[in-house]
Amino acid sequence: MIWLALATLRDRKVGFVGAFVALFFACAVVTACGILMETGIRGHAQPDRYAAAPVVVAGANEVSRTDTTGEDTLWAPLPERASVPDDVAALVAEVDGVTRTEWLDPGMALGVHGPGHPDDLAARVADVLPADVLTAYTGRGRGAAEFPDQAESQEFMLALSGSFGGIAVMIAIFVVAGTFGLLIQQRRREIAVLRAIGATSSQVRSMILREIQLVAVVAGVLGVLPGVVVARWLHREFVARGAIDPSFELAIGPLPALIAVATGLAVASLAGWTASRRASRINAVSALGEAAVERTGLGKGRVIASIAFLGLGVMILILASAAGGEDAAAGPLGAVLMIVVAVALIGPAVMRLVVRAVGNLLIRLAPTSGYLAVASLTSGTRRFASAMAPLLVLVALAGVTIFFHTTMADNADRQARSGLLADHVLVAAPEEPGVPDGVSAQVRDLPGVTAVTEVVHTGITGYTRELGETVLTSMVAQGVSGDAVQAMDLDLRAGSLDELTGPTVALSTLAASAFRADVGDTVEVHLGDGTPMELDVVAIYGRGLGFGLVTVPDDLVRPHTTSQLTDQVLVNGGDPADLDGVLADYPEVVAVSGDGYLDTLGELREDEAWINYLVIGVLLVYVAVSVVNTLVISTGERARELALLRVVGGSRRQLFGMLRLEALVVAGTAVVIGTIAMLAALIPGGIILAENPIPGIRPLIYAGLVAVAALLSLGAVLVPGRLLLARQLTVASER
């Protein structure tokens, strides 16, 4: 039996190294996400100047509500900061227990002094403040008031680490499960012997589980450090590209590392448990016989789970479409995740179908290599499926993340281009806060000018309905002045923009469905700085992506923005030379043509995509490692088979051809299904959000994605394959 022990030891080394690598990288990626998330949660800046006062009165940075049951808290961040009017400052000074007030930032932040606990003082001060608009900050909260950009950075970090971490954990599950499946497959003989000499199946199971858990803990602990390095690198990139404030430092605590190791252990145990259940059922007699052929049946549980996930994916799409607003954007990614899980669960059956579909073609193209490839693909569907799954995740998720953004960018661009009627656009010069008030009046008097529209870009927070419950939804809003109808064609579906004066609103179709509102209804919102308001719906329009989900009167919203300045002035007619004459007095304003303005907007949207590329890049490295890992193990497992084929007369070229075809079928399956999953999310997403089914796929990026999948798969099979084929043929007769 020595041969058995030696053989399994040798095989197991490869298998365990594979499992180790899978878990090591999983832990690194989860640690990195964890650090970003903790930074997002804890990352309040310490107050600096504002620390001078125990309580600081300043504009609210969020709006929150407790619902009728008193349980769920509705919450949304606010895009603008209100100023602190003098009369409010005077009221605060009169509050019981306030000994002294001082302007920390004139008009923006008022420091309040008084004896007792700051929280008690703050509670009394809050009573005289306009609700939702001004907040009495204490403790660390004062940091958020002092550095308003921090809140944005924080939100960015939370959103990013959430989606990034979700994808990473999911890939980890597939990869680790796949690796363990292979590991168990390799150990069939050893397990059979154990069973034959009387080990119970639960003994076998616990032995395997122990080993797997040991590997998981060691790999996890070692994976923490690279995780920290990745998090630091990402943080540096975010700061360098202006996504987060430089003062927003990384919070590195022990928690993410602990969570990462625990996640690794949990994933490994789950994967190990399923794999070992299969292993402990191994029949002693059959396993000791000829080289193992995989069990071909799919468990009932898998099929049911797969159908459930597919259903969930469809449901997410439907729900997201009903949600409207910006929440709808989360739909496609969630749907793709579910579809991918559904396919991966029945991966072996999918591979079998694919091989049945393309088998004859392969054999016709390459009679010998094709025949061998089809045979091994048919009998090794489980093995090939576990290599296919991470590639599928890569293609589908990278595709949907990147192309959802470009699809929306294309639709926004299309809508803006067909809707913008103005000939000239006056915008603030770089680094300037906005267009000063006097400009539009002067432009209006120029010869040939037929309309002048002031536009302010802000956001509103609406009470919308989702699954029968009220939620707070942030929406991009534009405030427009009187001539808007001439400057932009919003593709009106109902009502009229003429009535857009006073407390009124025009809703895009998306916003209308989120509010469940129609012309004549009233919607409840908070303006940018938190001011609560009820607005009458006067119109419904189609071009929400191009111009903003809601449109409100300029004079209604502009006082509720931080700068209180116009962002753009749209001009119909007039001579550019005359415009330049007016702007000579305003160096902070520049005039561009309508088309020039749209081009700049388009470029800005493309620039926003970098964040996707960065995160996809990190995941790509991770998936690459996983795929290579899985394929290297499964190719290594075939040393004897390859040697035997050579002995029987197969040339290196033929066997190389076989490996190449197998790798291409694996990559091809991942690309085709990944693309279908991607389109299944992008097309409904486009229809729902932009009434346009055409996805904005960038051919070059897509080709790159396909090439990466193919190269990963080919490289991971052919490199070890070449080494194996160069080995002694006598391994064929080794026992």
Binding site: E290, L729, A732
Partner: protein, 248 residues
């Protein structure tokens, strides 16, 4: 491929040595082997474990290259062949049967048997294929996978595959090593029949005197050298000679 010169041996080894490793770790698996096997002969290679039987077989079949010396398969000097020619030689002129793991698990019986032809890009000779399948008694199981066959049946498939290309020599390394004695006897009778009926040249490694007794000639190896060459005769005689070779 076959030539009419009956004086040419099917396989000949001239002064073949094989050293594994280097320096103090060097293992001299073969220390100068000179043997020739006539066409249509059935030779058993015997000897204690580690005496170099498998190494001799591998060198004779072109699976491994000798450190020095010459191997002739028919008139072909194996050392003169490049990798491509060696591959062609293996699939056209040599057949192999190992102790276990002889079959490609992904292929059914028919797929395994016709594999060498497929690799050579040749159509199977229907009558010959049919005859082989009948001889090994697997007509009912041509579409079974190896995992669905017993050990004896698996060895029969391996023998059928080794014969399908009408090789000059059938090489077998402990073909019955993993079988019980009854099944082993069946397999040996099958090999013997092929030698008698078709004139197949067979070289077989075994450590079992009963198995060796099916051969025409027994070569006994010890420590990398051929120490004895005897007609097979009965198993007991072989066993006695084995013991004396081991003692020597």
């Amino acid at each position: 491929m076959s030539d009419n010169d009956t004086h040419t041996s099917a396989v000949r080894l001239d002064g073949v040595t094989k050293v594994y490793g280097e320096g103090s770790a060097a293992v001299h698996a073969l220390r100068g082997v000179n043997v020739a096997m006539a066409k249509g002969s059935f030779t058993a290679l015997m000897g204690p474990s580690g005496s170099g039987k498998s190494t001799l077989l591998h060198c004779a079949a072109g699976l491994d290259t000798p450190t020095s010396g010459r191997v002739l398969l028919g008139r072909t000097d194996l050392s003169s062949l490049n990798e491509k020619r060696l591959t062609e030689l293996r699939r056209e002129r040599a057949g192999f049967v190992f102790q276990a793991f002889n079959l490609i698990p992904a292929l059914d019986v028919l797929g395994n048997v016709t594999l060498p032809l497929r690799l050579a890009g040749k159509r199977p000779d229907r009558t010959w294929l049919s005859e082989i399948i009948d001889r090994v008694g697997l007509r009912e199981r041509v579409h079974h996978r190896p995992s669905q066959l017993s050990g004896g049946q698996q060895q029969r498939v391996a023998i059928a595959r080794a014969l399908v290309a009408r090789p000059d020599v059938l090489f077998a390394d402990e073909p019955t090593g993993a079988l019980d004695s009854r099944t082993a006897a069946d397999v040996m009778r099958l090999i013997r029949e092929v030698v008698d009926d078709v004139g197949q040249t067979v070289i077989m490694v075994t450590h079992d005197p009963v198995v060796a007794s099916y051969a025409d000639t027994v070569l006994i190896l010890a420590d990398g050298r051929v120490v004895e060459r005897m007609p097979a005769g009965d198993a007991e005689a072989i066993a006695r000679r084995m013991i004396s070779a081991e003692v020597a």
